[in-house]
Amino acid sequence: MGKSIIEKIWENHVVSSEENKPDLLYIDMHYIHEVTSPQAFEGLRVKGRKVRRPDKTFATMDHNVPTINKYFITDEIAKKQLSALEKNCREFGIKLADLDSPEQGIVHVIGPELGITQPGMTIVCGDSHTSTHGAFGALAFGIGTSEVEHVFASQTLWQTKPKTLKLEITGQLGEGVTAKDVILYIISQYGVNFGGGHVVEYCGEVIRSMSMEQRMTICNMSIEGGARAGLVSPDETTYSYMRGRKHVPQGSEFDLQVEKWKTLASDEDAKYDSVISIDGSDISPMVSWGTNPGMCSPVTGHVPLLSDQPAEAKRDELARALTYMGLEEGMEITDIAVQHVFIGSCTNARIEDLRAASEVIKGKKVKESVRAMVVPGSQKVKKQAEEEGLAKIFQDAGFEWRDSGCSMCLGMNPDIVPSGEHCASTSNRNFEGRQGQGARTHLVSPIMAAAAAIHGKFVDVRNLSNHVEQPIA
């Protein structure tokens, strides 16, 4: 019987398998950042342990960093956390892309762009959006700080074998519909826990026709559907993206490596525990209106009615969400005004996202009532966007153009949405207080965010004259 890529990667990484025990899985790459590592390093220190494989560990600073005047950190505790990372990386011999590094950026943006993330790897990080790297056909998942310490000490993790879910997206996406809309649609249809206990493999014509950056957007939000991880079997798109990147084999060595990677893709007759099939043509540009990523509607739709909720618990949840968001049940999505627009985050701040958003904004102006910013996912993306003239387009329109970091996705740094204000955000979570206490987050694609910046409210980007049909691959 055929195997899925998930099974293949799992089998390739088992160090020990015993009855009544989880498998001991080897970890090929451990990404770290400043928020979830300090206690793990301290744990090592206390027990006199070393990092077993510093060569399989890579660090960046992203969550706490200011995206303007980046060396001027006013938050003393944040400063302490960033210095702790510097000190720890130095002491334990780990490569760090710090604020001086041209490679610095959001961990899930820089790993792939440097070619560190590769097909067939097991990849972990103390961050739930580690699933992003699954776009490359890697088994990549988020872990807590105790597990970070465990990987430091042993380069392994005890893991129970997950169930597998095949999520097929057939057909074609319509004009103005992006990878972000696809994943928001999936979560809105199947809920925030559809993937619980499962690793999701995304496949089908729509996925095959996507670029690597689009696949990363989808895999990134697997966690919002409760999945342990999400991935895409590698193909020519994957190999073309990787060719020539810093940390991949070069020249003929690369071609040899590609032949090995080709054996990873799921077999035609692989079996899965669950299967979901979606028609891409059913998907429209989406906007979240509530306080979890499942609470979203097409831009042409409306906020749900309380009376439409079948269960009391759901009605309570909806009522609470509407109160927090300051929205009326039944209101049209296009009646929701925004005061902030954030184009950034590990979900949607790569070069294609910025190109697509800049096409919408070109020649237009940010509405006076809106504060808009673009935070490139990495310093390399920032540089490339500047070279392509995108930064100028954004700045001429009235967007703030920032240095890279997690920024407004989660308000751990100075980029915060004030209480009671609405933000059209290309990030991945709209939980209460996520972007600031009382902040009201609406998750959208980069082109929808750009459109909202111009109009000060949500509009259907398909009705605008200068949007692109698909983000440029």
Partner: protein
């Protein structure tokens, strides 16, 4: 880690679904470099008003919830971010057990690493438990027996729960997981040598 064998405690009910880790411990409190001291920030935005006073409406601020060490919560508890600060804050605040009809995977693992026992019940069992706890308020106690994998209230409600034998053994003995893993040094080394051979 302290061994977890048989534990009795008062319950508190948070009957909300999809409680995410941003609510359990908001991001502005993740800047500490220690593992301790997070209890004061537990459910911060729900426990406190903007002016710093206690939110009288919040379930866990009610008199009957004070001093509870067993939290009964709605479905999909702990979803969202992988922050282990969430179980740290629950533990520091005083909770040793969390009961729900489902937990987010990463949160579930993080609890186990810290000696908090996450107990998954069926929706019907959870509904019944919430009913008893809500009716009996401050006097409601549960006894959790990890070796037997049972919970009971001594007044008629009882349920069994599943737990992976590996995690059960770890919790019952209070073992340090890394110490155990390092006993597999030979196997880890063999794996590393095997992969070098394959790739070279």
């Amino acid at each position: 880690m302290e061994p977890f064998i048989v534990y009795s405690g008062k319950t508190a009910v948070l009957n909300r679904v999809n409680v995410d880790t941003d609510q359990i411990i908001p991001k502005q409190f993740l800047k500490r470099i220690e593992r301790t001291g997070f209890g004061q920030y537990l459910f911060f935005n729900w426990r406190f008003n903007d002016d710093g006073t206690e939110n009288q409406e919040f379930e866990l601020n009610q008199p009957e919830a004070r001093g509870a060490s067993i939290l009964i919560a709605g479905d999909n508890f702990g979803c969202g971010s992988s922050r282990e600060h969430a179980p740290w804050s629950l533990l520091d605040y005083g909770y040793k057990v969390v009961i729900s009809s489902s937990f987010a995977d990463i949160f579930h693992q993080n609890c186990l690493k810290n000696g908090i026992l996450p107990i998954k019940l069926t929706e019907l069992q959870l509904e019944e438990l919430i009913k008893h706890a809500t009716e009996q308020k401050s006097s409601y106690q549960l006894e959790v027996d990890l070796p037997k994998q049972t919970i009971k209230d001594g007044a008629g409600f009882s349920a069994t729960f599943d737990i992976h034998p590996y995690w059960k053994e770890m919790l019952v003995n209070g073992w340090d997981e890394i110490s155990i893993t390092l006993q597999y040094e030979e196997k880890i080394k063999q794996y590393e040598e095997k992969t070098i051979k394959v790739t070279s």
